[in-house]
């Protein structure tokens, strides 16, 4: 199964959340591959704590592959080369976790027929090998989004299940922007239909993920004054209404990730050690990520509303 991670704006936690989801699925025993299609600013090596020095030297990443310079993009076995202490010792029974990074210094590029064919070939091949393939797409209606929409519309890709996660923060602007990214005139659905996707099918394969959502009930906010607390609740309720007015209400949401200080300051994988031993991260975050990871393949959450 392919999981495309999109967002309208940067800073929505798209990369870090999808990397965490990939990590959770690998822990659960799935073979997982993570493709960094954030061509403008490849960040995945930082999230997985993989030094990108050797990539700069070899320059065999996804940019080189899609540009036709190498036959296969570089693969990094995260468990083997990460500098993260906990990731170095994955538990027995976990699946493979492979990262395909972009080239250091590589930028965005226009989609041509060749890029699309190579992209389709790669996605196809990876879907034969991995249980889950995460594709982190550049923010907005980027070339990366266009390319995968075109690649997945090709007849040979029709057998591969593809699902979309659209990440947004829990603010008025972000809710409106996420809705327009998907449903707007130049949105993902419209662009997909232009390229031959079935509208209903594509809409049914898109779910929203609310990131960095402050939970009014959380102990983080227990010290605030009663007026602040009341305002928080009101704002939360207003946002929920706004979201459903934009057509991205509850039934379209796969889950939400609570506001997590660790993720605010540093894009990283949250390990069980961060939650249980050093306790720098919240249990709620771990549980939310774990729930979200399980729902990716749970068809119950992907039925048409």
């Amino acid at each position: 199964m392919l999981i495309f991670a999109a967002s309208d704006k940067g800073g929505t936690g798209r990369s870090v959340t999808s990397a965490n989801l990939a990590y959770h699925r690998a822990l659960a025993g799935d073979d997982v591959c993570y493709l960094d299609f954030d061509f403008g600013s490849p960040t995945a090596s930082a999230v997985f704590d993989v030094a990108d020095a050797r990539l700069a030297l070899e320059g065999g990443g996804l940019h080189s592959y899609l540009g036709g310079q190498v036959v296969e993009p570089e693969r990094i076995d995260v468990w083997a080369v990460t500098e993260h202490q906990v990731l170095r010792d994955p538990p027995p029974g976990c699946g493979r976790l492979v990262l395909m990074p972009g080239d250091v210094g590589g930028g965005e590029f226009a989609t041509t027929g060749d890029h699309v064919r190579l992209c389709a070939d790669l996605l196809m091949k990876l879907s034969y090998e991995f249980d889950l393939v995460f594709v982190d797409l550049s923010a907005g209606r980027s070339y990366a989004v266009d390319m995968v929409l075109e690649a997945t519309a090709r007849p040979e890709m029709s057998q591969v299940t593809a699902r979309w996660l659209v990440f947004h923060r829990w603010t008025r602007q972000h809710v409106a922007a996420a809705a327009s990214l998907v449903l707007g005139e130049r949105g993902i659905v419209a662009a997909g239909v232009d390229r031959g996707h079935d509208e209903e099918e594509l809409r049914g394969a898109i779910r929203f993920v609310r990131a960095a959502v402050p939970d009014p009930e959380s102990p983080l906010w227990s010290q605030v004054s009663p007026t602040q607390s009341a305002w928080l609740r009101k704002a939360d309720a207003d946002l929920k209404q706004l979201a459903s007015a934009h057509g991205i209400g509850y039934s379209q949401v796969l889950g939400s990730v609570p506001l997590e200080p660790v993720l605010q300051w540093r894009e990283q994988l949250i390990t069980d050690e961060d939650v249980l031993d050093s306790q720098i991260a919240n249990m709620e975050t771990w549980q939310a990520l774990s729930r979200l990871a399980a729902r990716l393949t749970d068809d119950k959450h992907w039925e048409q509303a």
Binding site: G29, A80, G93, E129, E156, Q159
Partner: protein, 323 residues
């Protein structure tokens, strides 16, 4: 150099790469379909054999090359010629693509007209002397930018085959490709072929080093390496299946489901040196002694069957206890 033009130089090296993967088809292909898939050229037939198992071998295709050879010591050797490639399908299930070339110990100092290279299919001639050791190590290590890339030729052939409209593009289970790079140093006629090294590297890469008498055709060495790659792929895949979290943590029907693909699609494929040229069969025997391919396979098969037996015992037991 004193040799007359046209007289072949001593063959020095044969290098190749085999890529092995599961065919993206929910059902195994029968002989007819396999022939349809592997018909790479209109002017030559696909070879099909049904005993002792179903095996289809495509005609050879040629790719013209004019580039540097990969060398371990960084020496720059330009070479021109053709790389041969072919595909094989075993039991309609496992697809392999192999690319290889032979290189003489020395070649002309200038580029010849294409006709010269076309009458020597699968031969790549170096400019000047061939640094044999450095080239062999370079091929095993993998090519750098702009160097002759056998993997790319094999990969392109696989990609072409996997796009064939005959395939429904559904895989019955997930598996990874393996790459086997091999080099054979030529030894004088009459000496015995030898397998000097077989290694498993990271990322599904395997390397094989051979010593091959001059009268053994390069295609026979390719056939041996395809056979090794196929059986190594089977071991790699079944080991991964048994190690994977889903099987290790599972019990009951889930465990049976995790093992099912091995029983349905893989266990019957084990048939070492079924089509390896007779003069090379003894190389397999060396691998059987050490590390013992078949020994490991039988162990895995036994483990799968035991697991299924244990799961089966449980069923009547559960039925009794619920009454």
């Amino acid at each position: 150099m004193t040799r007359r033009p046209g007289q072949p130089a001593r063959p020095a090296l044969v290098c190749g790469e085999v890529r092995t993967c599961l065919l993206a088809s929910f059902q195994a292909l029968d002989g007819r379909a396999a022939a349809g898939l592997l018909r790479l050229r209109a002017d030559e037939h696909v070879r099909i054999s049904e005993r002792p198992n179903l095996y289809a071998l495509s005609p050879e295709t040629l790719t013209g090359v004019d580039c540097r050879l990969p060398t371990a010591d960084g020496s720059k050797v330009r070479a021109v010629g053709t790389v041969a490639a072919r595909a094989a399908l075993t039991e309609g299930r496992l697809l392999q693509a192999t690319a290889w070339f032979s290189a003489p110990a020395a070649g002309p100092d200038t580029r010849r007209p294409w006709g010269h290279y076309l009458v020597r299919p699968g031969v790549v001639e170096p400019f000047g002397r061939l640094p044999e050791q450095a080239t062999a190590q370079g091929v095993l290590r993998g090519p750098g930018r702009g160097e002759l890339d056998l993997g790319a030729v094999a990969e392109a052939l696989l990609a072409r085959l996997l796009r064939h409209p005959l395939l429904d593009r559904k895989v019955p289970f997930k598996s990874r490709r393996t790459h086997l790079r091999w080099v054979a140093r030529r030894v004088p006629e009459g000496e015995r072929a030898e397998l000097t090294r077989f290694t498993l590297a990271e990322d599904g890469l395997r390397t094989v080093e051979l010593r091959l008498p001059e009268d053994t055709p390069a295609a026979a060495a390719a056939g041996l390496c395809e056979d090794l790659a196929l059986h190594d792929w089977l071991l790699t895949t079944v080991v991964h299946m048994l190690e994977s979290g889903r099987f290790a943590a599972a019990d009951g029907p889930v465990a049976v489901q995790a093992l099912r693909p091995a029983v349905d699609h893989l266990l019957h494929l084990w048939m070492p040196h079924a089509r390896v040229e007779r003069s090379l069969v003894h190389l397999w025997e060396a691998l059987e002694r050490e590390p013992g391919f078949t020994r490991q396979w039988q162990n895995l098969v036994q483990r799968i069957r035991d697991q299924l037996a244990v799961q089966a015992i449980r069923l009547p037991h559960q039925a009794l206890s619920t009454n």
